[in-house]
Amino acid sequence: MGLFTNLKDSVSRVTDKLFSAQEPKRIGIYGPPNAGKTTLANRIARDWTGDAVGPESHIPHETRRARRKEDVEIERNGKTVTIDIVDTPGVTTKVDYEEFLDHDMEKDDAVRRSREATEGVAEAMHWLREDVDGVIYVLDSTTDPFTQVNTMLIGIIESQDLPVLILANKTDLEESSVQRIQNAFPQHETIPLSALEGDNMDEVYEKIAEYFG
């Protein structure tokens, strides 16, 4: 009986290992609000699955729930990498509903949106601590990257030993400065792109395959 039990455990361990090696890695798309995370998630999902992940908007906190697109197969250099993309709400330390009133929103809607946004940020932090295997950190290259939220988030990601790819988004805009992002996080490679226009996505996919494959 003991022999069979041991044999069964051994077989179970081997099959677990085999299957876990094939499981897609969960890659979280993180960054501050309005950096273009959902635009990027949609670009990747559309390029490789034909579907979108969620709605995009210029209003902050459009994404208020983490959304997962499963089994995205990316082919690069004859190699296939399968990942689950997790599009997360923009991380911040403050949410003021009055900010939404500037976007022609009624107070009730603004309050509801701010409540959902705070829940979404808390959820995103939980995913980061527990449930992602790697991170794509998206920054708007037209804005100052030296913010406390960016510094803290990168520090949290580094402390978890997660592979991280930093993307300098919105390079189609005139004010874009990729160098400023490289200066802010010199310990990481920074890849420029425009998720909206699809510029430089080839390099992005190469790096995704390299970092998360």
């Binding site: 330390t93 403050k94 003021d96 701010s114 808390a122 030296f146 406390q148 402390s159």
Partner: protein
């Protein structure tokens, strides 16, 4: 080490006395020794209790990345319209005064030995920050 001045469990001053809110802004300087023996959630509770009382909290030693992550998460759960909008937080590392190795710095293993300033989002605004200066504007509510 700075004089320790922190909130008690009931929102009292550090010695159990009621804070004097006769028109000023209270600044709590939390010393390293006080933080050293606290669990992560105790630190977060102490910080948020202080900030929600409209105080500016300055930590002689900062939080670990994991504690920072939990601080953001708990802050989010406490935000309430017209009452509490969240926190403003600024830190700067003090790597030159710590015994951090070159390898640690090379690998991005930042020490938690960093001065941290935390305040209510609607009362504190960072004017300027560089590697050895934080300039902030603090307003009364």
């Amino acid at each position: 080490m700075p004089e320790v001045k922190g909130n008690g469990p009931n929102g009292d001053g550090p010695n159990g006395d009621a804070p004097d809110d006769a028109g000023g802004v209270q600044i709590d300087l939390i010393g390293a020794d006080r933080m050293a023996n606290m669990a992560a959630m105790e630190k977060i509770r102490m910080i948020l209790d202080g900030v929600r009382d409209n105080n500016i909290v300055i930590l002689e030693t900062g939080l670990s990345p994991d504690e920072e992550s939990k601080l953001i998460e708990v802050t989010m759960t406490e935000i309430s319209p017209d009452e509490f909008n969240g926190i403003e937080i600024e830190t700067y590392p003090r790597s030159e005064t710590t015994d951090q190795s070159f390898l640690d710095r090379l690998m991005g293993n930042e020490s938690t030995q960093k001065l941290t300033v935390i305040g209510p989002a609607n009362q504190i605004e960072t004017l300027h920050k560089d590697e050895n200066l934080i300039s902030a504007l603090v307003s009364r509510k």
